[in-house]
Amino acid sequence: MNEQALIQDAQRGNLDAFNTLVLHYQDSVFNAALRILGDEDQAADAAQEAFISAFKSIASFRGGSFKAWLMRTVTNACYDELRRKKRRPTTPLEPDTGDGEEMDSPKWLADPALTPDQQMEADEVEHAIQHCLDNLPIEFKTVVVMADIQGMDYTEVASAIRVPLGTIKSRLARARLRLRECLQGFAELLPANYRLEEGIKAR
């Protein structure tokens, strides 16, 4: 895929070229939205909105990392979605676990390579991580999703969310620290090699 040529064609209004880019990036965009919003339906809506918005404003793309530029539109779409959610709180359709928490392991998400036990374990770990992510302030969550889940470097993250590099470093460090503290509460769920040491408190 010649990304540069596709971007130029899309900038001239070629929707087919843009759709090729959509197919290439849609998983990344959906995953970023999913981790920020913590809800699949909302993430799908945000991803769709992000692509529509990206096509409409692609003329403003002036080079650099296209993924970072796309991530900026996703972040904005997620913020819009969160604002909408605040205005109109919705009731989830998924059954809950009885203690008020949603079960977030629909069958279509299951990894066929895992045994049912492994799948359940993986779901629980994922649930724990998502729970800790959801407890982070949105600006911390966005940075950690970009850097640690999307694997973007600091410069790309800074470009995506338009904040200085120093702020990215600071937010990422504090987000990781908070996640560590939160995940300690799920120690028994985590694989042995991912267990976190206890007793070290950050000031």
């Binding site: 209004g13 929707l15 843009f18 759709n19 959509v22 197919l23 849609q26 998983d27 965009v29 959906f30 995953n31 999913l34 981790r35 699949e40 799908a44 991803a47 769709q48 692509f51 529509i52 096509f55 409409k56 279509w108 998400l109 990894d111 993986a122 770990v125 994922e126 991580i129 950690v144 850097a147 640690d148 889940i149 694997g151 470097d153 600091y154 470093k169 600071s170 990422l172 460090a173 504090r174 990781r176 620290l177 996640l179 560590r180 995940l183 985590l190 991912y194 267990r195 976190l196 040491e197 070290i200 408190k201 950050a202 000031r203």
Partner: protein, 221 residues
């Protein structure tokens, strides 16, 4: 653990420290187990995040032309048809306005300086009506022999007017008669044929525009 050390450890983990800063931190890590333990925790937290499975998008997010408000390219003649439709429609409604104003002015008898045309028109229109009574059997005869036909003829408005005005002096010129006081007998300023023509032009042009759009949309797909 202070915030500065935390940021250093986090950036070190990502390889974002300058070589000199990195070397200094490594020296501290060798002597400070607390610092090393925090680094391990941060590493483990990052590894857990990286371990999160990448979900497949639940559907394709490819865009349709409708989603982005793109319209199919229309033929070059399309704007001409649009203009024709607009002009024909405006003229159509305008003709009703003209006829209405003309009727109102005529009925109120307000013929100003600019009403010469209407006046001339009224006189022309009135001529046949004025001629009508004169062509009828002489009124004197009718009055002398009031047959049923003659009485029926006198009931008609033209006959009434003619009777009132022309009976006393038959040699009086017909122009003295006031036909302008009869708005109901006057034809509209814009003939109905024109109005029908304008409406037909507007409709045909609009239908052609619709066909052009449909054809363009079909080709676009």
């Amino acid at each position: 653990m202070n915030r500065r050390d935390l940021e250093l450890l986090s950036a070190y983990l990502d390889g974002e420290l300058k070589p000199a800063d990195s070397a200094r931190l490594e020296a501290r890590l060798n002597t400070d187990p607390e610092l090393a333990a925090v680094l391990n925790d941060l590493r483990a937290a990052r590894a857990l995040l990286r371990k999160l499975p990448t979900r497949k998008a639940p559907r394709n997010f490819t865009l349709t032309r409708k989603m982005v408000g793109q319209n199919p390219p229309l033929p070059r003649a399309y704007p001409a048809f649009r203009l024709a439709t607009l002009v024909a429609t405006l003229l159509f409604f305008f003709s009703f306005g003209v006829n209405f104003v003309g009727t109102q002015m005529a009925s109120s008898g307000q013929f100003g300086m600019g009403g010469g045309g209407a006046e001339a028109y009224s006189v022309q229109e009135a001529a046949p009506q004025l001629a009508a009574p004169t062509e009828e059997p002489p009124l004197s005869l009718a009055l002398a022999q009031p047959t049923e036909d003659a009485l029926r003829a006198m009931d008609t408005p033209s006959a009434k007017n003619g009777g009132e005005e022309t009976a006393p002096a038959e040699d009086q010129p017909p122009a003295v008669v006031e036909p302008l006081s009869q708005p109901q007998s006057r034809a509209p300023l814009v003939p109905s044929v024109w109005q029908i023509g304008l409406a037909a032009a507007a409709m045909v042009s609009a239908v052609l525009m619709g066909l052009m759009r449909q054809l363009a949309a079909r080709r676009w797909k």
